[in-house]
Amino acid sequence: MNSVFSNKTALSIFVLPTLIIFCTIVMIPIFVSSYYSLLDWNGIGKGTFIGLENYVEMFTDSRALKSMQNSLLFAGASIFIQLPISLLLALILASTVKWEGFYRTVYFIPVLISTVVIAQLWSKIYNADYGLLNTLLKSVGLSSWAQDWLGQKDTALVSSFIPTLWQYIGYHMLLMYAGAKSISQDIFEAAKIDGASRIRTAFSITIPLMKPILKVCLVFSMIGALKVFDLIYVLTGGGPFFSTEVPSTLMYTTIFDTYRYGYGSALSVFIILECLVFTVIINKFIKTD
């Protein structure tokens, strides 16, 4: 058996099926899309080769630029709002509180629910006529604050960020919780003997030792934000007036509503490159051993 694992040919044969599947459903479509992105094509019939014109249009079209700006804002919100909350919850849970298992399960439930269900749920919360949020505001005498949360340009973007941030807090919390739990108890005991406070322990021991998992969370949360689609699509469909548009919803409308496969493909290539670049940057700046 040992010889099998050191035999390069055998290894290649074992890896081959996965490699083939990965190539056919991930790599090849990416290359095909890159080719499509150079065409002026309506999805049927023959396309005409137009070089980089789709990309030029993408970076001059105010709608596309707005969508990129939105997704970057969203990525920022994920990193600076979502992850700190997850980290806080994870640290509290890991420091052996009462009913640890119960809280862990409750925080994780939103991750298990389908995003479409979550979007429907929140669109009912935000509903201008009978929504929970407006009813609540009215019942505490703040009826002047009640408004059409998803139907106005200036509130729609923030209102559509909140459900996604909320949904994945539990996911990152669980990853971080597992990271914090896997740190050897001996170190904590030593810190306790030295008289370190809980907060001091968290900042000097737990968080530094969780660095690998924090990096994973950072990458996941960043990429998740850059390619977010389902929740925005169901909640607002990118509207009103493109104020909640992100590159993936714009890609969808371009391809399926206006039949511009070439331009849509250019957007999809942009999303892939954007995710790759940020992953590389994060990996470069946060070094783990």
Binding site: M1, N2, V4, F5, F14, P17, N42, G43, I44, G45, S123, Y126, N127, A128, D129, D148, W149, L150, G151, Q152, A156, T236, G237, G239, P240, F241, F242, T253, F256, D257, T258, Y259, R260
Partner: protein
């Protein structure tokens, strides 16, 4: 211990691969056998449609019609797949583009949705299969409506026209009069608002419900002929008539005619709100009839359908209708059994067209002389009565405009409703649209 673990891991991995390979191969064997097995000669045809909603009468009729066909034609068996509206559009587009279209499928008719597929040859021409017998059964004018450059690709099922739905109970409560012209409409809006009732509901999140409003306003203001001219020559969108139409549209929005939550309300939510009696008016096509007439709604029996009010200064008459497009089924050019598929298409279209009309799914495009229409609901009957008065039809504008222009058109109307742009700016932008590719 370590070597033991490694060995087990290796064996498990290896077995996994063998297992999945075996699974694959046995599957494909099974498929081949079942294809060869059976009666040997049976032809299987796939049918895709978008009728799955609870209140959609076609959703109930389709399985019955297919069951009857299957029992009458043991050698031609139909397999049906239903998918809901917006998803269906995506699904069928993807399937056609990948050359994997089903034998027979539903196509949003009369416009830009099917046009590219007809041009690219993905849809089978069925002119030769449409016998004189079939032609005589069609309602007058329908044969012309389905022809594209003298060729036939589809048969009609039923048609739809958009009218104003008014909740008479709410109008009575507010002491408002049911409007017949624009000033009465504005007066009704004021009265309804004063009584704390939402005058009209609009699900503008989906953008096309708002488009229906602007389009009918433009048709009343400029008249159908001018609209058709503008479709061919978009520069005509920037003319006084269309500016007046856009001004009226914005005036209605500013007067608070529509629900304040319109930009977050979807089409489905709009229907729900109207059926629950939360708004007094709705401008929609007769596919909403069945939902309004449903015994579970608060509005059953209280809703009237009327032609959209005419404009005192407008060129359009009440007999110039919005709608009339022909929705129908198409045969894919990649089908292996064109003759059988066309035969089924004719059967399906006629059966669904006549039975669907009686069940309230749409207005008839087949001859209904011999039919007993006493079972029709009042809403369907009034819609059919309005349709008879028609002097001309213009179907949904997003079906007439090329796909990209249709999107722009809908977005512009949303901006107009939000007073983001002036009526003049709106018309300047409209003038930049592409001309229609259809022969009108």
């Amino acid at each position: 211990m370590k070597t033991f673990l490694k060995k087990t891991a290796g064996i498990v991995l290896a077995m996994g691969i063998v297992g999945s390979m075996a699974a694959c191969s046995s599957n494909s064997n099974g498929e081949k056998q079942s294809e060869k097995g059976g009666s040997g000669e049976t032809i299987k045809l796939n049918l895709w449609d978008q009728s799955v909603g609870n209140t959609d009468p076609s959703a109930k009729l389709l399985p019955e019609i297919i069951k009857k066909w299957n029992s009458e034609h043991p050698d031609i068996q139909i397999e049906r797949t239903g998918t809901t509206g917006e998803q269906y559009k995506t699904k069928i587009k993807t399937a056609i583009a990948a050359n994997e279209a089903p034998d027979v499928f539903y196509g949003m008719g009369g416009g830009s949705f099917m046009q590219p597929y007809i041009q690219s040859g993905n849809v089978l021409e069925i002119t030769n299969y449409v016998t004189d017998d079939i032609k005589t059964k069609l309602a007058p004018g329908m044969l012309k409506a389905i022809e594209t450059d003298g060729k036939i690709y589809t048969l009609p099922v039923y048609t739809h026209i958009a009218n104003l739905y008014v909740n008479t109970e709410l109008f009575d409560k507010a002491g408002a009069q049911i409007p017949t012209n624009y000033s009465e409409l504005l007066a009704a809006v004021e009265k309804l608002k004063a009584a704390g009732i939402t005058p009209a509901l609009m699900g503008e999140k989906d953008r096309w419900p708002g488009m229906y409003w602007y389009d009918i306003v433009a048709m009343r203001q400029a008249g159908n002929d001018a609209v058709i001219e503008a479709f061919k020559d978009p520069s005509k969108w920037d003319s006084p008539d269309f500016v007046a139409a856009a001004t009226k549209m914005q005036e209605l929005a500013k007067a608070g005619a529509f629900n304040s939550s319109m930009f977050s309300m979807s089409y489905d939510e709009m229907l729900g709100a109207f059926n629950a009696g939360n708004g007094a008016m709705m401008f929609q096509a007769n596919w909403v009839n069945a939902g309004i007439e449903d015994p579970s709604t608060a509005t059953k029996g209280k809703v009237k359908v009327i032609p959209f009010p005419i404009f005192e200064d407008g060129k359009g008459s009440a007999a110039e209708l919005f709608g009339g497009g022909v929705d129908g089924f198409y045969v894919s050019s990649s089908t292996k059994h064109p003759k059988e598929a066309a035969e089924f298409l004719a059967y399906l279209s006629e059966q669904l067209g006549t039975k669907g009309f009686l069940a309230g799914a749409g207005l008839p495009s087949w001859n209904i002389d011999g039919l007993d229409t006493s079972s029709l609901s009042t809403l369907d009957q009034s819609a059919a009565d309005i349709m008879i008065t028609a002097t001309s039809f213009i179907t949904w504008w997003d079906n007439i405009l090329p796909a990209e222009s249709a999107e722009t058109h809908k977005n512009l109307i949303a901006q107009l409703l939000a007073s983001d742009i002036t009526p003049e700016e709106f018309c300047k932008q409209m003038a930049k649209l592409k001309p229609t590719e259809l022969t009108l």
